[in-house]
Symmetry: D2
Subunit: 145 residues, 4 copies
């Protein structure tokens, strides 16, 4: 656990608020933050070599089993945001990410959140009770074990 | 062709404008009409026995190759709309639909549009040059041949 | 609290899974459940006389400040779902809803979730520390006070 | 007209296909290309100093009145695309854009399209019969008049 704190995997990605993502209140519709979380996971996967396609090529899906989001301030059309993502190391067969979304101009926190994903075998749709080998290997490479 | 005019397949479906479908101008974002067209195709499929799942179970996908939409008046959050869909009979290996979307309360036309779909074999992704047998059978049953 | 249990406001709404709501895993993309929660809130508002437009005409917005969703089983294109919504009575100036989404055919639980909304004045964007008068009146009418 | 050909305003923007933009056929859902067109208009606005916010600050909205898209080949999750946008100069009070979307890796054309926008006064929602002054000025600056 001590090591996990020392080796915290983290990255961030710039988000440009799309006009289509706003609603009648002129702010980003709350459900669209879930897309920003996904953009952040993408950036994380690209950065640390564990994209959805990598996972899939290892025979797994990683569906979400849990999601939460807390809204702190609004984002508007024209705003640029920064989505920060942190990998939360856990021994169980899960991938946990924490998120913070900032207004890039004001540095104001717009939202925080978290997601939990599990491993499903592509071949038989079975849930992995233990971390798949590829994920253990990745953790090792990242200094998380 | 004469027969096609006589036997015009048509249906409609009620649409409740979702808050998440509006944009900062407080009207339905233009891209969301494409979802309404899809809702209308669903209703058509249910009505005339030719849903996506029917098509798929016959070994085909029906991807869109063309789409157009003309916007006539805005829909707002809280509005109820009616999406009308008409099958446009053609001898070529295509499914052509025409759409009209109305504000249900005012009866005002909100948009018109059309889509063209082709047949792709699920097994080899090949484009059908001729109408697949299941589609010919369906047309026959509908009095369109 | 006892009263809140006695007078539990609850409703549900049928959801037809849209093709556009599915993803490459052939299941409903997790972010789209947030739309189903919104559909459920709409149905609740229609049922108990407290739609977004009612709220707005009383001078308030009700933005979300918190959202969570737990995924239990997948929904697929062609599935019909049922979104059940329950109002969670609280003395604080918030509207809390709990959700359960079922596969209508199998009755299997697909997801659970909750949302918390606060009251913002339309005129000055100020957060209400106490329940607005219209909301207190509504609660009274519903037997929740 | 000759001048319009000489001074062709054009730009492009990189698109990363989001997982949430794919559908059960494992390709980008056709309606999401409309978002890519919007991304391209954003890039165009940033490049040539005519963003939605510029337009709005001049007292106008620019709603779409027409949209078309022709699909040539599929985009998949993980693909990077390029959305190219060209301003189509016309003397009438409209903004016409043409689009081409390419798979960035294969250079294969994925879609073409066009949009037509008009000018609505923010103050009274009236349609502009002539080009607003700010738009004429912009055209002049761009060498399009």
């Amino acid at each position: 656990m001590k090591k996990a704190v020392e080796t915290q995997l983290k990255t961030n990605v710039a988000i440009k608020v799309r006009f289509s993502e706003t609603d009648s209140m002129s702010v980003v519709w709350h459900g669209n933050y879930i897309r920003y979380f996904e953009d952040a996971r993408e950036a994380f996967g690209d950065m640390y070599g564990i994209t959805y396609l990598d996972v899939f090529s290892n025979g797994y899906y990683m569906p979400l089993v849990s999601l939460s989001c807390d809204y702190k301030s609004s984002l508007r059309y024209g705003d640029e945001a920064l989505a920060e993502i942190t990998f939360w190391n856990t021994p169980s067969a899960k991938a946990i990410f924490k998120y913070r979304i900032f207004n890039k101009t004001t540095n104001r926190l717009a939202a925080t959140g978290s997601t939990i994903q599990v491993f499903l075998s592509v071949s038989d749709n079975a849930l992995s009770i233990n971390n798949p080998a590829f994920f253990e290997n990745w953790k090792q490479k990242m200094g998380l074990l």
